[in-house]
Subunit: 144 residues, 2 copies
């Protein structure tokens, strides 16, 4: 297995990930969803797991702390989330959905699922499993 062959996977990955995000973002914008794709990811995580610390939220979503800080800033400014000082650790905040955040989530969920499905036309469940497996292996191979 030569080096040459693997020249382009990083390029393919990058451009596909960008297109997937970009496609969703366009739909988000044209549908006046009023959140970005990354903000949506945070909202969904907070729905699964109420009252996460920012640190935990960062791990779950694969964002780093500075990025997360800014996304939370934006979500709070939009009134969709709130920061509450952690009772045991004054360094921490727990973040949770406001009523408006919950409403937004309920409203958008089906629309987002529909948007996400578009990418899988003409692809099988097996393709999905293979993609998942390969991506996870790559991810683990580069574990620091």
């Amino acid at each position: 297995m030569t080096n040459k062959k693997f020249d382009s996977y990083s390029y393919l990955l990058d451009r596909t990930a960008r297109r997937v995000k970009g496609y969703a973002q366009q739909k988000f914008a044209s549908g006046d969803f009023d959140v970005t794709v990354d903000q949506w990811l945070i909202l969904k995580s907070l729905d699964n797991d109420k009252y996460l610390k920012q640190k935990e939220l960062a791990e779950i979503t694969g964002k780093d702390n500075p990025t997360l800080t800014r996304i939370i800033d934006l979500l709070c400014k939009k009134g969709l989330t709130e920061r509450v000082t952690h009772k045991d650790d004054r360094r921490s905040f727990t973040v949770h959905l406001t009523a408006a955040g919950t409403t937004k989530l309920t409203e958008l969920s089906p629309k987002v699922n529909e948007i996400r499905m578009k990418a899988w036309e003409n692809l099988s469940e097996q393709d999905y499993e293979q993609l998942k497996t390969i991506l996870n292996k790559i991810y683990q191979n580069l574990e620091s």
Copy 2:
């Protein structure tokens, strides 16, 4: 094939692409490569195809024009590329490698290949072909 099943592919794609890029970027930095991963992509494209117009370079690399302009700005500031006014079209520049750019390319190529291979440990050539096929199908499904 339910919606639920496909919940996470966008997240997986995004985080894997980021890790691949981030891993390479770290190696680039610790090896004092003095270019970013995206800048490297441009250099490599210019090596394959001398004297590309920015527009063409953008298409080949999958960047949009503003992004490309800024990357070229940085590469020119580093002395690795040059802009030359296009002889037939004064709106355009052709971009090409300087001597320093060519040297950089020769120096770094084997190191970059080595870095890129790390992701493929425990993965087969078949995995690579599958990944390529699936990513390309997704890309086409979202074609605007």
